[in-house]
Symmetry: C2
Subunit: 111 residues, 2 copies
DNA sequence: ATCGTTCATCGCAAATATACGATAAAGAAA
DNA sequence: TTTCTTTATCGTATATTTGCGATGAACGAT
């Protein structure tokens, strides 16, 4: 019915889930990797490298932009994308938290 | 049409995406947090704490089990769940890799 | 002004994910 | 055995995601 219970969780949980969702498709992982490697923030080059149509790549880029992991500026007829250092940092600190609370009982698995 | 291009990406990218997908819902983050806090690997307690029906929680647990983050054993009429230290470790090393390749051009954002 | 290039968005189809009630399975308790 | 408790699974409804062709917007070049 509702398919919509996400508001009932904490802000932390929702934000971490949101960032994880942005990473939950191989194409988006690949895009992030490309952006991290290339200094110049290409765009059409991404389409050339990935096995996806231009429209699809554009959509993935949009999702990465929506969570803030990627910034983009229009540069003449072409678009320039690059990582957003701040949100990358947020992702780091959040995976750090994840790390902490996962590592707590890391040693004794009872099952 | 196809909705199915995921095989064309690398193993690394697919595995990271798969783990990220397991984390991409607040309920599953909450479940992991609970499992990390409680020493005893409860189960029905999770249902009590989350704002979700028992069937739904069971489904989320299954997904976490499928990617290996969680182990479960049947203990009489009830089920015992706990984190899987090995896959938690895998997640760590993978977020480490993510960290590395994201941090590379961390300083100069060109957009 | 016209054409070509680059990219975003719209509209649609197919696949997945989310949620839950109902029911089944399996042991504990009576 | 019958009953209760606990959990997994089935079936189903709805929502979201994925992917792409087609189209449009914006600019550069001619």
């Amino acid at each position: 019915m509702s398919t919509h219970k996400k508001e009932e969780f904490s802000d932390d949980e929702r934000r971490l889930a949101e960032l994880a969702k942005a990473l939950s498709h191989p194409a988006r992982i690949a895009i992030l990797r490309i952006l991290a490697q290339k200094k110049s923030c290409i765009c059409g080059e991404i389409v050339d490298v990935l096995p996806l149509a231009q429209a699809t790549v554009s959509q993935h880029l949009k999702e990465l932009k929506n969570v803030g992991l990627v910034k983009g500026t229009i540069d003449g007829p072409r678009s320039c994308y690059c990582l957003n250092p701040e949100v990358v940092k947020e992702l780091m600190s959040i995976t750090g938290i994840l790390h902490e609370f996962l590592v707590q009982n890391n040693s004794q698995s009872c099952c």
